[in-house]
């Protein structure tokens, strides 16, 4: 199993890139893919063009509100497992799980502990796990116990964006999350990357993997109400993702 986590400040295009990575796997005949929407704004399903059934957050709240009265004399472990397993959206190309809203007030030690166990058990069933993360690394640190093979920090080509990416990268080091490779991806690049941005990347000690261009076809899809998934393979943004995947040593 290989895990790719995609992170970055809101609005940098994380979700789009996540969707394109999943699409790339699918185009290369790799269908044992679990997409994890770990962003509380939950919209990965939209760009992938599928309907969501339930979120982990909603399931956790449901379990909390049921207190002592679980259906069928089930233990909470079993109840959570059942609910989470049935919340998975299944398509021939990939499966999708959504984390949903983070917890409200109250104690979640127990629920989160169970979730961690259940989710890491589910993850091991897939060859590839692709996680669309929140800007803050909470899900990385708290919900996924397993290691991450590639972490992609997405930023727009602006110095402010790079500084935010650097912050995420530093936060990650503090969180003691096991990450093998860590890369910066510049998204929505028009022509060339400004010198100031290049310097900021150096200052923040980030490793730039590649740039992804601004692509009007994405906007076009959006206007037609179509998911990112439907993008044509010859479009510049998809071509860039293809190059990025190869740079990360994902082979055909």
């Amino acid at each position: 199993m290989k895990t790719i986590a995609i992170s970055g400040k809101g609005g940098t295009g994380k979700t789009t890139i996540t969707a394109l990575i999943i699409r790339w796997f699918s185009d290369h005949g790799k269908n044992s893919v679990l997409a994890v929407d770990a962003d509380s704004n939950v919209n990965l399903n939209d760009v992938l063009g599928v309907e969501l059934k339930d979120t982990i957050g909603a399931i956790r709240e449901e379990m909390k509100s049921l207190a002592g009265e679980l259906p069928g004399g089930m233990t909470k472990q079993q109840f959570l497992e059942y609910k989470i397993q049935s919340s998975l959206v299944e398509t021939p190309k990939f499966d999708l799980i959504a984390m949903g809203r983070p917890e409200g007030p109250g104690c979640y030690c127990y629920a989160n502990n169970l979730l961690r166990e259940i989710l890491s058990a589910i993850n091991t069933n897939y060859h590839h796990v692709v996680i669309d993360n929140e800007a803050g690394m909470e899900h990385l640190s708290r919900r996924t116990a397993q290691k991450i093979d590639c972490l992609l920090i997405i930023s727009d080509p602006s110095t402010r964006g790079i500084r935010a990416a650097g912050k995420i990268s530093r936060l990650l080091s503090e969180l003691d999350t096991r990450v093998q490779e860590r890369y910066l991806i510049l998204n929505r690049v028009r022509k060339t990357v400004p010198q100031s941005v290049k310097k900021a990347i150096e200052d923040e000690k980030l490793k730039l993997l590649c740039s992804i261009p601004e692509d009007d076809r994405l906007l076009g899809l959006d206007q037609k109400g179509k998911p990112v998934w439907d993008i044509l393979a010859d479009s510049p943004v998809y071509q860039s993702v293809d190059r990025m995947m190869k740079l990360m040593n994902f082979k055909r």
């Binding site: 269908n31 044992s32 379990m63 909390k64 207190a67 002592g68 259906p71 069928g72 004399g73 089930m74 233990t75 909470k76 472990q77 079993q78 497992e81 059942y82 397993q85 049935s86 998975l88 299944e90 398509t91 021939p92 499966d95 007030p105 109250g106 104690c107 030690c109 127990y110 629920a111 502990n113 058990a121 589910i122 091991t124 069933n125 897939y126």
Partner: protein, 734 residues
Amino acid sequence: MSKLIATRAIRGAHKLVARAEKELKRAIEEKGPQTKVEFPNTGYYLPISHGIIGINIETLEGLQELLEEAKKLLPPVPEKKLWVPYLGHTLDAGMATLFADEIIEAIKYTQEPLPYLPEPNPSDNQLWLGAANDIILRERGIEFVDGTAPGFAACVGYCPTNEIAVKIARELQEKNLYVFMSAATEGKSMAQQLQEEGIQMGWETRLVPFGDDVTATVHSLGFATRVALSFGGAKPGDFQRVLRYNKNRVFAFVLALGPVDDEKHAQAAGAINYGFPAIADTNIDQILPTGICTYEHVVSPVAHDRIVSKAIEVRGLKITIAKVPIPVAFGPAFQGERVRKDDMHVELAGQTQPGFEYLTLKELDEVEDGKIEVIGPEIDEVTEGSKIPLAIWVDVAGREMQADFEPILERQIHDFINCANGVFHMGQRDINWVRISKEAKHKGFKFEHFGSILHARLHGEYGKIVDKIQVKIYTREKEILELIETARRVYQERDERLAGMTDEEVETFYSCTLCQSFAPNHVCIITPERSGLCGAYNWLDGKAAHRINPTGPNQPVNKGKVIDAVKGQWKEINEFVYNYSHKSMEIFNAYSIIEHPMTSCGCFECLSCVLPSTNGIMTVYREHTGMTPSGMKFSTLAGTVGGGVQTPGFIGHSKHYIGSKKFISAEGGAKRIVWMNKALKEEMEPMIREIGKQEGIEAFFDMIADETVAVTEEEVLEFITKKSHPALSMPPLF
């Protein structure tokens, strides 16, 4: 026990001892008293006499001593008109029989040509093998010790047809039992029947023909004796140890096939000494439980198709199935496996189809062990990608089985079925959900294999309580919808029984130290009547979590000696809490808010604290952000109580605990509640009304103040005085 059966066994013993005496006399006359006697290549002299009375016989003359011992043991044949307790006599007669048998068999080894083939396997012209040598004993005896072979069936006589003989032999082999055959009746024996059918016999196939003489039966018990001496550490002559070892460790029994004469009755009496019961296919007198064997001693008449399972049941033999007989790999490694939709051949039950799982206790004779039926289509009759209903119905029977164990065993269905590679199982009861992968189907996995898994694993894990298991797999909606109501009724009964569980009726509570990362000295003790203070964890969850992760944050804690039943203090609980709170908390009372109350991590759903002037307590939940009559908001209160420190007068707890009979029962229980935040009060309304009803204070719910009528302690006091709240007339809290 019946006089008749005792008479027959004792008469048989007399006949055999007389025969031994006659044959010994003739042998000494013909060959001389110093002629060597031995079972070749064995280190235990003649095993019965060596093991039971500790004598080492090496010559014909030595056999004389054994003959005297046999005669001493011989009880008088019961008189027609006199009745005495016969068990002791029968046992003595049985032992005398074994001595006589051993004399007669030993003499055979002085004869030329030798009537036995001293090899592991019979040859074309010599069927009978006689006593096993030490190499065989070491190879085979160890199987009795490590459980690869649970024991043996000593088969005497013959079956009505060869076909039945083969069937019984096969059935015994399937249970990994050795089949020891001896004693022809009217010139016919089971071993000869197997030979006629071309069945391969010998130690290797576990079908061992000892001899056609009735006395050759002694080689079975001789073998058992040697197992006790060589593997059980019994000293020669320590007959108690030899016999007890066999009763407890070697699961053997006698199958009496065909007519049972006096001599065979006597052999059965010999076997009973070892705790080995006899099961007969003909109608002979029975000996029911009397204390030597585990259950019955002699059972008859038993039909041939049931005789093996009956024998196993009567002997108390626990079947273990080492390998789960299914065509896919099986093991806990496959437990977390999800069968993805794309890889799936069929989905059963789940979100779109009806289904349930049910395990129930039946009488022993209502269950046919290992029977598996599929009612409805099998896997190869359903098209790829289809979704069909599924009910798994398990009948179990066992002498130690109780209805209380039903849910425990039923819950195992999930764990067991999930262990099969390519099978995904979720849920339980009427929310079960199963998927089978294309690959598993391709390897030959069938619905009936659910039954094979459950049969093998329930025997393996619950052999102590379960003797027989049969499984029905329903894959057709019609039957499932008919049966599901029965199952649901039982689920509900079980839940009600569980809900009524009290702290007194369990010996073990569970700890929870999951929150020690926040509050290092905090220990939750979860009891049936007090759930964890976060509300997430009840006693059953603790129990389940411990089973899943035995070294995890939920440990079983024995209560130990009761120190104070009212406050809820136990010796071993104190010790546990002391150790796990890093020696910061010496005394712990489960049911008190005043004296040594339970600590809190900070995660509690609710918080209760004493309002001194009201002689009562207030209860507030986490979501309440307003002021409370204690003069503190929830957040401030939580700071006071959390962090694993005992704060007399304050406790954190779950919402559910308010309705428990053990809610601060040391101080008089929930009727101490004088104030609750409104939302909590409303949420808990049914529970509080129920408390009022039980306490005989119908208006109790309306006597409790909330923030709409009182936000200071004075206002609370004023309110409850007006309402004549019961707390006012209760004993002072301090």
